[in-house]
Amino acid sequence: MRARDNPFRVERLHGLRPRIDVPLADLLARWESMGGRAALVGPHGTGKTTLIEALRVELGNPPLLRLSEERRRLPSELPAGTLLIDGAEQLDGRDWRKVVERPGRLLVTAHRPGLLPTLWESRSSETLLDALLEDLGAGAWRVQARPLLAAHGGNLREVFRALYDRWGEDGAKRAK
């Protein structure tokens, strides 16, 4: 029942690789053909952050701004060159204009299309969930996980948080 033994702990989830049906290099080539300005689009918890982080590695680790409801403002100086923004829909109109007026390549994540042309649209599915469970060595949890996917509106992050708790509860029952 130790947190460090839980297969759904955050550190394991951060190690998951993006499950897309094209090589990352091909996706980046598509991005270049779009002028190096595009968005990864999809609902909450469908792999956008995982994908942008993997693409960042392929690009040689350019700056990545991580925005959230708690952190919505740009830094005072934007870096030159390639810029990645996770959570671009958090920016207000003025900050978004600063970003798009800045020269250089740009790749962002957003929950809905419209900010930039869509490079990739992420969506969750039972197939994706099954594959991720296998990656975590937790394929035996498939039966419990599938109803959670529907219950959480396709948000895989919330599914894994729920499975984290269930693993702990199962362990507590076994210990009694």
Partner: protein
């Protein structure tokens, strides 16, 4: 470099707060050894490097543990102590336990 191995004197893996962790890392001359703790669990990972030592030609090290935190595990979070070699192509890591009785503290509620 591919054979880097952290060997703790006496093959110890558990320590009390304030004790020294001593040993050798063979083949690691010029690299750095870090003593740190990190968390794993349901929330965001925390990490703190407590001490570092530049490794000389013989690779010997001696790092003093602080009074806290202790190694512990609960349902939501585990705190893990470790040594790690950095600066090379591979970064071997050795986990240790740190607590007053040398064992991991198990928490029931968290």
């Amino acid at each position: 470099m591919s054979d880097l191995l952290i060997r703790i004197d006496g093959e110890r893996s558990s320590f009390k707060p304030g004790e020294s962790v001593e040993g050798v890392v063979e083949g690691a001359a010029g690299l750095e050894l870090r003593l740190f703790w990190y968390t794993e669990g349901k929330g965001t990972q925390d990490l703190e490097v407590v001490a570092t030592q530049h490794l000389g030609p013989e690779g010997r090290f001696r790092l003093v543990l602080p009074d806290s935190p202790y190694s512990f595990s609960g349902k939501l979070i585990s705190l893990i102590w470790a040594l790690e070699v950095v600066g090379g192509a591979v970064c071997p890591r050795a986990e240790i336990l740190v607590s007053p009785d040398g064992g991991e503290i198990l928490l029931g509620g968290v």
